[in-house]
């Protein structure tokens, strides 16, 4: 039995001077699992993602990512785990405006030696970036050369997905990545993301307020149900 990608035990979190926001006794995300986490806005899901991604500090309890207790780690230790093992997709504005499509995709390889090694085994960062872009339907050379701000929102989200997946991360966190997309683009995006995540062997933590998406995943969890501090 291998360790789960994410395991939270007795997690407690409150912003300074505020009521407790998160109280999760037990939460697990198995390796390669595709999990749908439902939660309305304001339910603390962004905070939860921040804690799992290791950019927020101050949670009590145990936060294990890739079997490492990042809650006990220093800031730079968490940065290392994030750089090496995590891919993140935001709701929108995912891309660095002054970098090209390909440069945006290979950005994580700039910050993680592990992911750089991984792509070098597959023929180098640019080759891997183009391969990923091709897989998610952005194989047009002219499109890849374009300024990222000229891309449609759907295209931007797919570039972000390629970036999250490059270098074989263990976990992809997607925070409402489809809320700016129409339903056709949304379903196609989720399909592509799921497919690519299983291809690269990454677990997927997909967060949304839209319960109708739940059937597209292996498992669905309602944040309100596992969060004792809710209400």
């Amino acid at each position: 039995m291998t360790a789960p990608t994410v395991r939270l035990t007795d997690l407690r979190f409150a912003w300074p001077g505020q009521a407790p926001l998160l109280a999760i006794d037990r939460f697990e995300l198995a390796q390669k699992e595709r999990l749908f986490l439902r939660g309305p806005s304001g339910s603390g899901k962004s905070t939860l993602l921040g804690l799992i991604a290791g950019v927020l500090d101050g949670g009590q309890g145990e936060i294990r990512v890739m079997d490492e207790d990042i809650g006990q780690m220093s800031g730079s230790g968490r940065d290392q785990v994030r750089a090496d093992h995590l891919g993140v997709i935001f709701q929108m504005f995912n891309l660095v405006p002054y970098l090209s499509v390909v440069q945006n995709v290979i950005l994580p390889c700039r910050f993680s030696k592990r992911r750089l090694r991984q792509v070098q085994e597959n023929g180098g960062a640019e080759v891997e970036a183009k391969r990923l872009l091709e897989r998610i339907g952005l194989d047009d050379e002219a499109l890849q050369a374009r300024n990222v701000t000229e891309l449609s929102v759907g295209q931007q989200q797919r570039v972000a997905a390629a970036r999250a997946l490059i270098g074989g991360p263990s976990l992809v966190i997607a925070d409402e990545p489809t809320s700016a997309l129409d339903s056709d683009a949304r379903d196609r995006f989720i399909e592509l993301l799921s497919e690519e995540a299983s291809q690269t062997g990454a677990a997927l933590l997909f967060v949304s307020h839209d319960s109708s998406l739940a059937p597209l995943f292996d498992r669905a969890v309602d944040l309100a149900e596992i969060n004792g501090a809710a209400g």
Binding site: T47, G50, V55, L86, L95, V96, P97, Y98, Q103, S112
Partner: protein, 422 residues
């Protein structure tokens, strides 16, 4: 691999071209101003030191060494007393003296000083690195009523060869006490020298005496109106006094001994000065103003550097998103910090280089014009160590200033986490 942090900084700046360009422009202008002041200051000092050369001593009636220098070389102010012709001859006859050039000042023409001298002036008076006075047109004075003009005089008054000119007694306005009974003729125009020679009208000592026949009391004596030019020409026109004399020595090594001898052992009390020494003392007086100018231009650079801060700090709000993307893709706080500090340093560096290039371009355009129009040679304004130092200091200062916005961005990106609350 991919894009380095400096590459990111550069691309980020290019993404904000207008703001980055304006900041670089502000830095470039301030650096150009500073280097311009610094170089012009040095050029002015060199030009000033080069006003007179080849003359070992200047001898006049006892006053002060700056006073004597001002009126004899710069044509500023007046001699309080003159030296008698006898004393001048005694000086000229000294064994250690190779040559002397007497000068007589006091009259003017339309605001330009008139200098009475002899032909030795054109041989011995030197400026710059020993350059002689050269005629642009015509010849040296020959006849009694011939005049040789400095370049500025001819240019600004529009005089050519053969233009008749009337000299005014003293330095007052024209018309009131003109020597209009004895007009002069322009026979020569000198090339520009960038020294007070350009603003001088040269006539012979004898002519200086001749126009003052009948003026012995200081104003025109009506009884003298009957004296014709022929009669004047027949007089003994040896001057009774001269204002000062330029002196060349046979052996430069005796300069201090000769000066002491002239100051103490002559039949009439005289003052001998060493031009270089007096120039240095005079420059000390003017040096304060020059240092103030330099200080002001250094402050202008500080203002330029603050514009880097302003532009980066104001960009931080709209770039919170960019920072959190970088953080999410694995950038560490040090990367964010380096990115912003690098941006500041890049702005400072490019601005400083452009500023140094700009001032060279300005000098390259201005030098021929200054030289042709005013005879001012810009000495030592080319690229030098001072440019390198300035570029280095500005870049380092920008780098250090960049720490402030870098820390701000860092603090924010840590607080923002993955989601930016805009």
């Amino acid at each position: 691999m991919g894009v380095s942090i400096f590459g990111l900084a550069w691309r980020s700046l290019m993404n904000r071209k207008v703001s980055a360009f304006l900041t670089i422009f502000a830095i470039a202008l301030s650096v150009a101003l500073f280097l311009g002041v610094e170089k012009a200051r040095n050029a002015a000092k060199s030009g000033f030191d080069n006003t007179i050369s080849g003359t070992e001593l200047i001898v006049g009636a006892p006053s002060g060494q700056i006073n004597l220098l001002l009126y004899s070389v710069f044509r500023l102010g007046n001699a309080t007393a003159e030296i008698s012709w006898g004393a001048y001859e005694e000086l000229n006859a000294r064994d250690d003296v190779a040559w002397t050039v007497p000068i007589s000042l006091g009259d003017s023409h339309r605001g330009y000083r008139v200098l009475g001298t002899n032909l030795g002036y054109f041989d011995h008076y030197k400026y710059g690195q020993g350059q002689s006075l050269l005629l642009a047109e015509g010849q040296e004075f020959d006849d009694l009523f011939d005049a040789v003009l400095g370049a500025d005089v001819a240019k600004s008054l529009g005089y050519e060869l053969d233009t008749p000119i009337v000299i005014t007694h003293g330095l007052g306005a024209r018309g009131f006490s003109d020597h209009d009974d004895r007009p002069f003729r322009v026979v020569g125009i000198l090339r520009p020298t960038g020294t007070p020679v350009d603003q001088t009208i040269h006539i012979s000592l004898e002519a200086m005496t001749a126009i003052h026949v009948g003026w012995e009391t200081g104003t025109r004596n009506p009884l003298a109106d009957g004296i014709t030019e022929e009669m004047v020409r027949s007089f003994d026109l040896t001057p009774k006094t001269v204002t000062a004399a330029f002196v060349g020595l046979k052996n430069r090594a005796t300069i201090l001994r000769t000066r002491r001898a002239i100051n103490t052992q002559m039949s009439q009390p005289l003052l001998a000065i060493i031009p270089g020494q007096a120039l240095a003392e005079l420059w000390q007086v003017m040096g304060t103003a020059e240092r103030v100018l330099l200080a002001i231009s250094a402050f202008v650079i500080a203002v330029g550097l603050v514009s880097i801060l302003t532009s980066i700090l104001t960009s931080l709000n709209e770039r919170r998103r960019e920072m959190s993307i970088l953080r999410a893709t694995g950038a560490r706080p040090l990367h964010i910090f380096t990115l912003l500090v690098a941006e500041a340093a890049v702005l400072g560096f490019i601005g400083a280089i452009l500023g140094a290039v700009l001032i060279q371009a300005i000098f390259a355009i201005a030098a021929p014009i200054l030289s042709a129009q005013y005879g001012v040679a810009l000495i030592g304004t080319g690229p030098g160590l001072v440019d390198l130092y300035t570029i280095g200091v500005v870049t380092i200062a920008a780098f250090i200033l960049g720490i402030w916005p870098a820390l701000t961005a860092l603090r924010r990106s840590l607080a923002d986490g993955l989601t930016v609350k805009l």
